[in-house]
C-alpha cells in the first residue's frame, strides 16, 4: 500500500516515555491576537539532537523561546523530564541557550561570562573553576579566558556562547541559528564540531535553523515547520526520501524537487503510471489506496532526471541554462509544453543553453502529490 509520509507528531521513531525528554501538549501561543500556535503537540526524546527547520517567520524561534521560558505559553503544557515547566522561571528550567547574536555579557571576561550563571546557581567556587577549565579546554577557548567578548572574533565568540551554555550542564541545550553569523568556511568547521559535540553530549539538544544542510547533517530528527504548522517530523533520511507534502519536498534538497502536472493511469502490476503528454512514466506507487484527486503532480529529484540524445522514447527538451557547482552541474531544461525541470549531472556538464536534449525520468524514484499537496510514495523496499 502506498503510504503518506510520517504525519504530524507521531513519528515511528518516537520512543519517548512519560518521564523523559521534552513534551509539548496542546501548546497555544499568540502575539497581539495573532495566533502563532493553536494546538501544538510534540515529543522530543532525551539525548536527541532535534532540529527545527523552516523558512523565516515560520514560528521556529518562538517555539525555542517557549521552551526557554523567554515567552509564556497562552495555553497547554510543556514537560521536561516529566515535570511541567511552563510556569517555571526561565532560570529554573534546567535550560541553557545559545543565542543567534551570542548575547555575551560585554563587560565581563570570557571566564566571568562562563561563571556568571554558575555563581547565580550557587555552585561552589572550586567546582566553578574546574567546570570552566574543562569546558574551555574542550572548546579550545582557554587561551582567551581573560579577554572580553569585544576582543574576540565571531567564531571565538560563538565558542564562548556555546561554552557558557554547556558549562551549566543543562538538561536541554537550545540553539537559535548558532551558525548563521559565521562565514561559510568557519560555518562548515563549526558544524562538524557541533556534530561531534552532539554525539558526546548527554543533554537533549534543540536547534533552530533555516539551513537544510545543517539540519540534514546534525539532526537525529528534523521537524519541518511552515506558517506555524508542523509539516513533518522524521529522521533526515525520511524527510529527504519520503517528504510528507509538497512544501517539504520543495524545501529540502540542494535544489527543489522537480514537479510535473499530469494524469494518473493504471500501470504495470497494480502501480500507478503518470501520463505526461504522449509518454507514460511508470511509478512504483501502488494505485490502490490513492485518493480521488482532480489533479496530480509527479515529484522527482534532480538526480533522478537523466539527459540523453533527443530521440524517441526520450522526452524532447531544450537546455535553458546550466549551474556548474564543480563536482556536479544543475542543468535547467524546458519541455515542449513549457514545464521546467532540473537534472543533475556529475562533473562539469557539456551542455549549453539552447541545446536540444532528451529527458529520461526514473519513474521508480518518483513521488506523487495529490491536489492537496499530500505526498504518496513507492512502497518501501
Amino acid at each position: 500500500m502506498a503510504a503518506a509520509g510520517d504525519k504530524m507528531g507521531n513519528s515511528p521513531k518516537n520512543q519517548v516515555t512519560e518521564n523523559q525528554g521534552l513534551e509539548f501538549r496542546a501548546v497555544a501561543k499568540a502575539f497581539d491576537g495573532n495566533r502563532v500556535f493553536d494546538d501544538l503537540n510534540l515529543t522530543i526524546g532525551k539525548g536527541e539532537f532535534f532540529i527545527i527547520l523552516g523558512p523565516s517567520g515560520c514560528g521556529k524561534t518562538t517555539l525555542l523561546r517557549l521552551i526557554a521560558g523567554l515567552e509564556a505559553v497562552d495555553g497547554g503544557e510543556i514537560f521536561l523530564n516529566g515535570r511541567a515547566i511552563q510556569n517555571t522561571e526561565a532560570g529554573d528550567r534546567g535550560v541553557a541557550m545559545v543565542f543567534q547574536d551570542y548575547a555575551l555579557y560585554p563587560h565581563m571576561t570570557v571566564a566571568e561570562n562562563l561563571a556568571f550563571g554558575l555563581r547565580n546557581m550557587g555552585v561552589p567556587a572550586a567546582e566553578i573553576a574546574t567546570r570552566i577549565g574543562d569546558t574551555a579546554r574542550s572548546l579550545s577557548i582557554d587561551a582567551f579566558l581573560d579577554k572580553r567578548p569585544g576582543k574576540l572574533s565571531g567564531g571565538q565568540q560563538q565558542r564562548v556562547a556555546l561554552a557558557r551554555a554547556l558549562v551549566k550542564k543543562p538538561d536541554i541545550l537550545l540553539m537559535d541559528e548558532p551558525l548563521s553569523s559565521l562565514d561559510p568556511a568557519l560555518r562548515l568547521k563549526t558544524r562538524r564540531e557541533l556534530a561531534a559535540l552532539g554525539r558526546n553530549l548527554s543533554a537533549t539538544v534543540v536547534m533552530v535553523t533555516h539551513d537544510q544542510v545543517e539540519a540534514m547533517t546534525l539532526a537525529t530528527r528534523i521537524m519541518i515547520m511552515h506558517d506555524h504548522v508542523i509539516q513533518q517530523i522524521g529522521t533526515p533520511l525520511e524527510i529527504f526520501s519520503r517528504p510528507a507534502n509538497l512544501f517539504v519536498a520543495q524545501f529540502v534538497g540542494a535544489t527543489p524537487m522537480n514537479l510535473l502536472s499530469g494524469d494518473l493511469a493504471a500501470g504495470e502490476a497494480g502501480t500507478a503510471a503518470f501520463r505526461l503528454g504522449e509518454s507514460d512514466i511508470q511509478t512504483q506507487v501502488a494505485l490502490r489506496g490513492l485518493p480521488v484527486s482532480t489533479a496530480w503532480r509527479l515529484g522527482l529529484r534532480a538526480e533522478h532526471v537523466a539527459l540523453t540524445t533527443p530521440k524517441k522514447p526520450h522526452i524532447p527538451a531544450t537546455v535553458d541554462f546550466v549551474e556548474r557547482l564543480g563536482e556536479q552541474s544543475w542543468v535547467h531544461v524546458r519541455l515542449t509544453d513549457g514545464s521546467e525541470l532540473v537534472a543533475t549531472e556529475t562533473g562539469v556538464s557539456p551542455h549549453r543553453p539552447g541545446d536540444r536534449v532528451g529527458v529520461q525520468l526514473d519513474g521508480a524514484k518518483a513521488h506523487l502529490f495529490d491536489v492537496d499537496g499530500r505526498a504518496w510514495h513507492p512502497e518501501p523496499a
Binding site: A90, G91, D101, P106, H107, F116, G117, R148
Partner: protein
C-alpha cells in the same frame, strides 16, 4: 610611491581649508577672548578706560575677598547639590522609562518638556510656587496649618531651593543620554541573564551599570561644567540674596565687572572659574582611570 605620498601631504593641507571657517570663528570668538581675559586679569582696569599692570595682585586680592570666597563656596555647594541628584534621578527615570509602552513614551516627553523652557519662564513659574506670600507651597502650608517657609529669603533654604528648580529644569537631557546608552544593550543579553538566574540587582550591577557608565561620567562632567556657570536662576529669583547666600561665581563676576566697573578684577575671578571647570572636565579621565579595566572592553 614618492609621488603619491607627496600628493597625500599636499591634500592634507588642502583639507585644512575645509576646517578653516570653523577654526577662524573659534580663534576669533574663543581663543582670542580667553587670552585677552588672561591679560586683563593682570591689570587694574576700569570699564571706562585706564589700565595699569599689577601682575598677580588681583589674584592675591581674590583670596582675601570674603564675597568672592562666599561665591566660590556657593558655587561648589550648588554643584554638589545639583549634579549628584541630577545624575541619580535621570538614571532612575531612564531605567524606569526604558520600555516600549505608550505610557513610558508619554512620561519621557513630560520629563523632557521642562527642558524647553527659557530661564525667564522657569523663574516666573517657580516664583509662583515658592514665594511665602500667596505661592503654591504657602497655600499648601496654610491648608495643613503650618507656617509657610520663606524658601527664597532664608539663607538656609535659598541655595537648596535653586538646586531643586535647576534639577527640575535640567533633567531631560541626562535622561535622554542615559536612555540611549541603555538601548545599546541588546535584549538578548538580558534574556541570557534571565537564563543564568541573575537577580535584578546583579543584572543592574553587571550588565546595565557598566553599559551606562560612560554616559554617567559624561553627564556628570558636563553638568558640573554647566552648573558652575549657573547665573540666570539666582539673578532673576534672588539677586544673590539674602546676604549673598545665593550668589554664585558668575553672578559675582557680573556684579564686579558691570556694577563696580572693576573689569581687571572680574577677569581674574573669571580665570579662577575657568580653572575650576577645567579641573572638573578632567573628571572623566580620572573616572576612566579609576574604572580601569571595566571600560576597556567597551571602547574596543
Amino acid at each position: 610611491m614618492a609621488v603619491s605620498s607627496r600628493n597625500e601631504a599636499t591634500r592634507g593641507w588642502g583639507n585644512l581649508l575645509f576646517a578653516l571657517p570653523f577654526l577662524s570663528v573659534y580663534v576669533w570668538l574663543l581663543v582670542y577672548p580667553l587670552l585677552a581675559g588672561i591679560r586683563l586679569s593682570l591689570y587694574r582696569a576700569n570699564l571706562f578706560g585706564g589700565e595699569h599692570f599689577i601682575a598677580f595682585e588681583n589674584y592675591v586680592r581674590l583670596f582675601h575677598d570674603r564675597t568672592f570666597l562666599q561665591a566660590l563656596g556657593n558655587s561648589l555647594m550648588f554643584v554638589g547639590l545639583t549634579v549628584p541628584v541630577l545624575v541619580l534621578l535621570a538614571l532612575m527615570l531612564a531605567l524606569s522609562l526604558n520600555r516600549a509602552t505608550r505610557f513610558a513614551a508619554f512620561m519621557r516627553s513630560v520629563v523632557f518638556a521642562s527642558s524647553v523652557l527659557s530661564v525667564t519662564v522657569l523663574t516666573i513659574i517657580w516664583r509662583q510656587v515658592l514665594v511665602p506670600d500667596g505661592g503654591l507651597l504657602s497655600h499648601a502650608a496654610h491648608l495643613l496649618n503650618l507656617n509657610p517657609v520663606p524658601f527664597l529669603s532664608d539663607q538656609r533654604f535659598v541655595l537648596p531651593s535653586l538646586a531643586v528648580i535647576t534639577v527640575w529644569w535640567s533633567l531631560g537631557l541626562p535622561m535622554i543620554l542615559f536612555l540611549s546608552a541603555l538601548q545599546q544593550v541588546p535584549r538578548s543579553v538580558y534574556e541570557a541573564a534571565a537564563l543564568d538566574r541573575a537577580t535584578p540587582w546583579s543584572v543592574f550591577r553587571r550588565i546595565t551599570l557598566p553599559a551606562v557608565m560612560p554616559a554617567v561620567i559624561l553627564v556628570a562632567a558636563y553638568e558640573c561644567a554647566l552648573q558652575f556657570q549657573v547665573f540666570g536662576q539666582p539673578q532673576l529669583l534672588t539677586q544673590g540674596g539674602p546676604n549673598g547666600a545665593s550668589r554664585p561665581l558668575v553672578l559675582y563676576i557680573y556684579e564686579t565687572g558691570f556694577n563696580h566697573w572693576d573689569i581687571g578684577y572680574a577677569a581674574a575671578a573669571s580665570q579662577m572659574l575657568f580653572a575650576l571647570i577645567l579641573i572638573v572636565l578632567l573628571v572623566p579621565h580620572v573616572g576612566r582611570w579609576m574604572a580601569g579595566r571595566w571600560l576597556i572592553g567597551r571602547r574596543a
